[in-house]
């Protein structure tokens, strides 16, 4: 072995990014003799903040042995099967981005092309009527996958987790797992030959071989320099307001994103409250106006509102010398689609794949940076899509239509408009069905569909469509309502 192993990892940061990093690295590399030390800075979350998580988080929780029922019970969290996008006050504009597949393959080919063809011939049935997940969400039910539904298609889900409580929960897990935890209000970064030598605070000095920057502001990685790419020109919002509203009587199994002249208002139900998020542009709307717009659009009384600045963008290299930036320190995202934790997760999974075995880890670092750049850029593209192709009224949305987009996104939109297909890139986090939900939802009609489906007789397609719609109806009726399921989780906790 040419160089010593890097066995002492110091994770510096706050909130979920800090605690996910510490727990994941400890769980995965503890057996390799890796020690994790956590340095916690003051959290930035209020009780109104929420993580509306995407389906992959469940697998990460499994690796950390986090019990789903216990987590939701402790946090008062809820399930979510997707997000409903609607222009406030306009009937007929709603479409659901469901966390599951739409339709099932015919003759081994994607459902979507058949639907496109049928719609061209006058089929009056919407895309989401073929989605188990979307249909369940609309009916306030969950969709617990089994063999039959798996054969039909993917039925995934995420959670609405009160963010501050989630971070506390993860911190407890870290403590239970033997991770040393330090708390401090501020840190000093001590430079050394390898990059960062130590973190100093309150007269203490914590040395390490590898440092994870989960501070959100890039406190560690900034000390080493390196360029940052701004994505401001791709996103119309530069402010986000977060507030809390009373819970719904029956808790919806999805989030709702309502667009209006001042931006968009997101409603994310959990058991104890409805988390409200308002994205807006300071040039078009004051904080005060944003607050009123959010309350009015939500139709709920808002409290505990805070406003934060948005500065979307990413570092050219998330890993510099011996510092790896995870979460916002690496890439800061627009609040749309709530990709933050997914980005944390991707950053950690890749770090584990290339965790340095030696100090001269140039190749691993280069590969990590290459993959993460592409992963973050594709996440950004997925967010930018909704803004770019929106059909909503108001100055905010007119501005959104003018935003700059990447060559990859431009090509994807063009190919969809031409043929209804989604160009496949290696480092993509969202399924083609997610992309199509927005493209179709905003009314883009492709000029053609895959010609190879014309070998399937139209009668066959009709029969299959009838079967699918029947199957969706029948399966969804068998599912528990979201409320009933949450209650059963609560009861299990007392039993």
């Amino acid at each position: 072995m040419s160089a010593p192993l890097r066995n002492r990892v110091v994770v510096v940061g706050r909130d979920a990014a800090l605690w996910l990093s510490a727990n994941v690295i400890r769980a995965a590399l503890g057996a390799s003799g890796v020690t994790v030390i956590a340095v916690e800075l003051p959290g930035q979350l209020t009780d109104a903040d929420v993580h509306a998580t995407l389906p992959p988080l469940e697998a990460l929780h499994n690796q950390l042995r986090i019990d789903e029922a216990a987590l939701l019970r402790t946090l008062g969290g809820a399930f979510t099967l997707g997000q409903n996008f609607v222009e406030a006050g306009k009937a007929g504009t709603a479409f659901l981005h469901a966390y599951g597949g739409y339709g099932t393959a015919i003759d081994g080919r994607d459902f979507f092309a058949y639907w496109l063809k049928a719609r061209g011939l006058g089929l009056p049935v919407g895309l989401e009527d073929f989605s188990l997940t979307a249909a369940a969400a609309r009916q306030g039910r969950l969709l617990i996958p089994d063999d039959e539904t798996e054969k039909y298609g993917r039925s995934d889900y995420g959670y609405h987790l009160p963010a501050a409580a989630y971070a506390r929960n993860l911190k407890r897990l870290a403590g239970d797992d033997g991770i040393t935890i330090h708390q401090t209000d501020a840190i000093e970064v001590v430079r050394g030959d390898a990059g960062v030598a130590a973190i100093a605070f309150d007269g203490q000095r914590i040395e390490g071989d590898l440092f994870v920057d989960a501070t959100g502001d890039g406190l560690l990685i900034d000390a080493l320099g390196g360029a940052r790419e701004s994505w401001k020109s791709s996103f119309p919002a530069d402010r986000v307001l977060v507030g809390s509203a009373p819970p719904f009587a029956a808790i919806p199994a999805y989030a709702e994103i309502r667009s209006h002249a001042q931006g968009w208002t997101g409603l994310y139900p959990s058991q104890a409250q409805t988390h409200v998020v308002q994205a807006f542009a300071s040039g078009l709307c004051s904080d005060e106006e944003a607050y009123r717009a959010a309350a009015e659009t939500a139709g709920l009384a808002l409290r505990d509102a805070t406003v934060r600045r948005l500065d979307p963008g990413m570092r050219a290299d998330a890993w510099v010398r011996n510092v790896v930036a995870i979460g916002q320190s690496a890439a800061a995202f627009d609040p749309l689609h709530n990709v933050d934790l997914l980005a944390v997760q991707s950053g950690l999974i890749q770090l584990l794949a290339f965790y340095p075995i030696a100090s001269d880890c140039c190749a691993e670092r280069a590969e990590y940076n290459r993959q993460m750049r592409a992963t973050y850029a594709r996440l950004r593209d997925f967010q930018a899509l909704h803004y770019r192709i929106n059909t909503y009224g108001g100055a905010f949305w007119a501005q959104a239509r003018q935003t700059g987009i990447s060559a990859e996104l431009a090509h994807r939109i063009a190919l969809f408009q031409s043929r209804g297909e989604i160009a496949a890139y290696e480092e993509e986090s969202f399924a083609p069905d997610s992309w199509r939900a927005f493209l179709v939802g905003h009314g883009l009609v492709p000029d053609s569909y895959l010609p190879v489906i014309d070998r399937t007789p139209p009668e066959e397609i009709k029969t299959q469509f009838r079967h699918m719609l029947g199957f969706v109806k029948e399966q969804v009726l068998r599912q528990p309502t979201h409320d009933a399921y949450l209650q059963s989780i609560a009861r299990r906790g007392h039993g």
Binding site: A28, L29, F354, A363, H411, V452, D454, R455
Partner: protein, 515 residues
């Protein structure tokens, strides 16, 4: 654009070799006959190159798509089975390895196998070569064959297979298949290509007979000439001889020799390399060489020395250059096969690249509405992915060698690599991570085979592998090797399997070969 809303789109395929007839057959199967008229122009006077007699497992998908009966097809093309390629002397003389159509080991504790193997190897354990952990390698090494087991839990399910066949007979086979399904074959030589004055698209071809063929979409399968894509549309050629300096091949079949092995052999030689492909009735042989480092006489001598059966005819010379067109689709012209690009037959990729282009084209085929730039953009993006990744994989076979003192091999060892490849090698050396694409060639296991086979040794591994206790790792490695050996020992030999499953009529049928 002449296509209108009521008439079928006229698709004209120029050239009738392997590329032309695979394209014709694939499109005839995939597209609705009411919407597309498929026309293929070929000339009996123009010979075809007959690319490759060895294939990749993907060809099974293509044949299944066409609904071709495997045993029948194998009898007709005098085919044998192929479990991989043996590379002899590529790292250094006296050494060899097999690149299998199969996996290495199995993932344990969620970590790919090579990391476990590397961990044990670096710890000084007696793990043996990585190749001991590939079922396909061990089966090929014993000249054995059986169909893979369909139970994914069985060690016998961890491989796939391809074929060695007579490419000329395969083109004949597809010609009959395609014509029976409505493809119009026109015999004749093209003497003039006309482009529309406005769009610049090709709109008609004139044949020597004076006959005129009009079309909406033209597929150039004219081989190295690249009559439409290169000559007419003027699409530039990106040449890669700075990485792949071989530019000549000499082919000379010989009589069948025993044993009938279930793999292709590629043997490194001073000025290039020789191939050996065992079919049922004969063995295909040839030498690929670089004219900068090896004369034709030396190549001929090397080839004749390498042939292990009675020669059939005289060595036949081919000239080529490695590279691809800047675009595979320009205007209304799409190049498939050698008209679009050429990579030497080292990894039997020619037929795969044709197949990939046919499937992509079927999905992106223009409709009656006319040519759509956006579809061409996607085709070109995929075309680049296929060619460029295949190129990196081929270059790896050359650059990682220890044949010092031989000018060709010294040259390729010291040349400046494509950045994408240099990075892949450095990454593997550092931490045993091999490329793992979601789309396109080659698979992670293929990269592993050639990286390890060419003597690239990792000095680190994914540390998640440490979650497996060291003694459990040793036990698992031992068990896996034992399981593979026991199963391979029970396999049928390849020659016997072929004789029972798909014997070609003996003696040779008078079926003419187009090659």
């Amino acid at each position: 654009m002449k296509a209108d809303r009521y008439n079928p789109v006229r698709v004209v395929i120029v050239g009738g070799g392997t590329a032309g007839w695979m394209t014709a057959a694939g499109l005839a199967r995939l597209l609705a006959p009411a919407d597309y008229d498929l026309i293929l122009i070929e000339s009996d006077e123009i010979g075809t190159v007959g690319v490759g007699e060895a294939t990749l497992p993907h060809i099974k998908t293509f044949n299944e798509l066409l609904g071709i009966d495997e045993a029948q097809f194998m009898r007709d093309t005098k085919a044998t089975f192929k479990l991989g390629i043996e590379f002899v002397g590529w790292d250094q003389p006296g050494q060899s390895y097999i690149h299998p159509f199969g996996t290495f080991g199995e993932p344990w504790a969620g970590v790919d196998f090579q990391h476990h193997w590397t961990r044990a190897m670096l710890a000084g354990k007696d793990v043996g070569p990585l190749f001991d952990y590939s079922y396909a390698v061990q089966a090929a090494a014993r000249a054995a064959f059986e169909f893979p087991n369909e139970d994914p839990k069985s060690i016998r399910s961890t491989y796939s297979y391809a074929y060695h066949f007579d490419a000329g007979l395969y083109a004949n086979f597809l010609r009959g298949w395609a014509i029976a399904r409505g493809v119009t074959r026109i015999e004749g030589k093209i003497v003039d290509v006309r482009r529309d004055g406005g769009s610049g698209d090709v709109d008609r071809l004139t044949l020597e007979s004076g006959a005129v063929v009009e079309g909406d979409v033209f597929i150039d399968c004219s081989g190295f000439r690249s009559l439409l894509l290169g000559q007419t549309m003027g699409v530039a050629w990106n040449e890669w001889s700075k990485w792949l300096p071989c530019d000549r091949a000499m082919a000379m079949p010989c009589a069948r020799t025993e044993p009938l092995v279930s793999y292709t052999r590629a043997t490194a030689q001073r000025g290039g390399w020789t191939w050996r492909i065992g079919l049922q009735h004969r063995t295909g042989n040839g030498m690929v060489f670089s004219s900068a480092f090896c004369s034709e006489d030396e190549a001929r001598e090397t080839l004749i020395g390498a042939v292990d059966g009675a020669p059939i005819g005289e060595p036949r010379l081919l000239r080529f250059q490695a590279g691809r067109r800047a675009k595979g689709w320009e205007g209304n012209v799409i190049g498939i096969g050698l008209a679009g690009g050429f990579l030497e037959p080292l990894e039997s990729t020619s037929i795969f690249l044709i197949q990939a282009a046919v499937v992509d084209l079927a999905n992106l085929m223009p409709t009656r509405g006319g040519i759509d730039r956006r579809l061409a953009d996607e085709f070109n993006r995929l075309y680049e992915v296929h060619y460029d990744r295949t190129r990196d994989f081929l270059v790896l076979h050359y650059c990682a060698n220890r044949r010092t003192g031989e000018p060709l091999w010294d040259h390729v060892r010291n040349m400046r690599l494509p950045d994408s490849l240099a990075h892949k090698i450095a990454l593997f050396e550092a931490c045993a991570a091999a490329p793992d694409y979601k789309y396109g060639l080659f698979s992670r296991d293929s990269w592993l085979a050639v990286l390890i086979g060419q003597g690239v040794v990792p000095r680190g591994y994914n540390r998640l592998a440490d979650r497996l206790p060291a003694d459990e790792l040793s036990t698992r490695l031992r068990d896996l090797r034992r399981r593979i050996r026991a199963n391979v020992d029970a396999m049928t030999d390849h020659a016997g399997f072929v004789a029972a499953y798909c014997p070609a009529p003996v003696p040779d049928t008078p079926l003419e070969s187009a090659a």
